[in-house]
Amino acid sequence: MMKVLELRTASLLVGLAVIVALIFIWQGNAYALRMLAEAGCLAIVALGLNVQWGYAGLFNAGIMGFIAIAAFGSMLISYPVNPVFWQSEAPGWLLRMALIIAIGGAVTVLLSRIDRYGVPRRIRTMLTIIAALATYMMAQNALTPAAAIIEQNSGFIGGFGLPVGLGWLVGGVFAAVLAWFIGRITLGLRSDYLAIATLGIAEIVKAFLKNADWLTRGTLTVSPLPWPVPTPNEIGFVVARAAYLSITAVLIVIIYVLLQRGWASPWGRMMRAIRDNELAAESVGKNVNRRLLEMFVIGNFIVGVGGAALITFGGIFDPSGFLPINHTFLVLIMVVLGGSGNNLGSIFGALLVYVIWTMSEPAALILFRYGADWLQNVFNIAPPDDLATRALQMRVFVIGLTIILVLRFAPKGLLPEKIVKYE
């Protein structure tokens, strides 16, 4: 049995390698490397999701939001400094706003606890809400003029011009902090509720990034994002992308090794136990909510790092460009196809799905052209004019079909989770 599984893993990996090699031949080195680099970044994201979904059973359907916030964090750290902004009076205004939020936030938190000192709960709740609203309005008031000044003079606040690696780290931290807040509120919820809540929160994050022009330039986009390695502009496509790919590869290996160690340890066993049965886990001393929060935060940190790397590779920070299909569903499929609970599976899934995703467009075009010729020659039916356009819709179809086929023929994924057996 064990042997069979391993044989299967090996043959799948070899198969994937062959496919990748074929793409190198078909599409050329530069493009194939780009595909691999992006797939690598997505593999990191998939590993992060696997921590949540595969290990802890937390269904995070808001990957897009975490990628977006991480990309923003990374952009903020690594984008060059905007001197116009720093020389204006806007930083002062922003500082004021930060102070208001800090003080207002502290007051609100304090007020939310006064019931411990004998204040009736109802009054406490009212006071808390009033304080929160007041803080919101005052902060808003401080922000409006600042935002106007910034947008008029300098576009947006710019970045800090620090190293990109630091940016990715901070991106991960941003995603983790957001995850912490969300987790605090929603982890009491059951799995598919969590999915929907995160789905919604991702949209909220996106709406914020899209409309906070002073902070992110909103729909006007920020580019070019600096790279951790020289860009294709400087050293050519192949070398630059190979360098980028090797950085992601190193990250993948590090994350993979650490997660594998965790998985095989009591920690991994505990997480699987929690995933299976929270009630029983709680009764044998596992602090279920805290552990789930831990998983959610760690997972999203990884998602964040991967997301920051992905967006950096693309070179443009465009809040409207975060789309559920590209940044949530695709990753989800990667994990499911690879086999949730199996880290190697997630990496494998990421590569395979991304290959299918990117290659389905040219492949569909070729297929449709053949089909059209065939129609024309055999039946003498003129194909519709916009055939090429329509062929492009096949990409969505293909990815849908992939999901269904996987669930049908390999419901546990191509590389299923291994049951830990002691001899």
């Binding site: 059951r190 598919d192 509720y193 949209e203 709406a207 409309n211 669930l407």
Partner: protein, 329 residues
Amino acid sequence: MNELVFFINKVVIAGLIIGSIYALGAVGMTLAWGILRFANFAHGDLMTLGAFIAFMLTMAMPGLGAYVGLPTAFVVLPIAMAVTALVTILIDKTFYVPVRKTNPKPITLVIASFGVMLMLQGLIRLFFGTAPRQMYVGSKDIYRIPFAGRDIVITEPQVLLIVFTVVAIVALHLFLTRSRTGKAMRAMSDNADLARISGIGTAHVVRVTWIIAGSLAAAGGTLLAMDVSLKPDLSFNLLLPIVAAIIVGGIGQPYGAIVGGLIVGFTETVAVFNWAILLRPLKPHMPDWLELPANLTFVPTEYKIVVPFVILVAVLIWRPNGIFKGKVL
């Protein structure tokens, strides 16, 4: 008074209409969710599919409506509903049944439904292209009810929409609580194995569920397309507010879907309503120094799309089972 009518038009009626749209979308989905125990995300695209079928039927026999005195698209609706129901059953047979056989977690089926959703999207675009289309053969009736100096406006498809929603939901409720099959559906959602042991033909129950879900989806999509216009991704864009409505109302609760839909709909309209207009009549009585801002809304319109999610998250935290105590799956 003028302002009051304005308020009625913009908040009461607008909320009612968009709320009904959400509700009608939500009913079918909530039912399938409750009984088959998974959120069928392909529901939005089933709605679109149903609308396209109705559209084709309308184009095939455009004169039909004139006989009956109703819009053609509405007259052909039963056929469209039947066809969509059939398609839904086929989808279940080919895609969901094999997955269900492996005895999966509910979320696995959710993922399967993502797959079906994407496939439907691809196919609809492939066959129908992407341009928007009109469901109306002629022009639609617009009823303007004069009221205190300004008209209250409501259109024919909107009236049809509201009436249809109410009828559908009452009928559905009666079916579920009174009929044998209705009860069998609930039993199956509780414990499919035990339902089989009790002699319930589960395949039959699943089929009935899909018939209801599919035909309601077609109705929702068609009515929506009649009110707005028909586009390939029209209903998909509604999916998240619909899910919000379902959760607000409680999963598996048809009445909850109505309430949830209306709550989400009204909150959206109220959130972006410009309250300044209601204050304007008071302007002469106000002190001079108090300047009335031109724009007084809770939420800037560009943030309108987050409103359903905020409601959703709030409800999830405050009352995770929804207002109507839905299923805890």
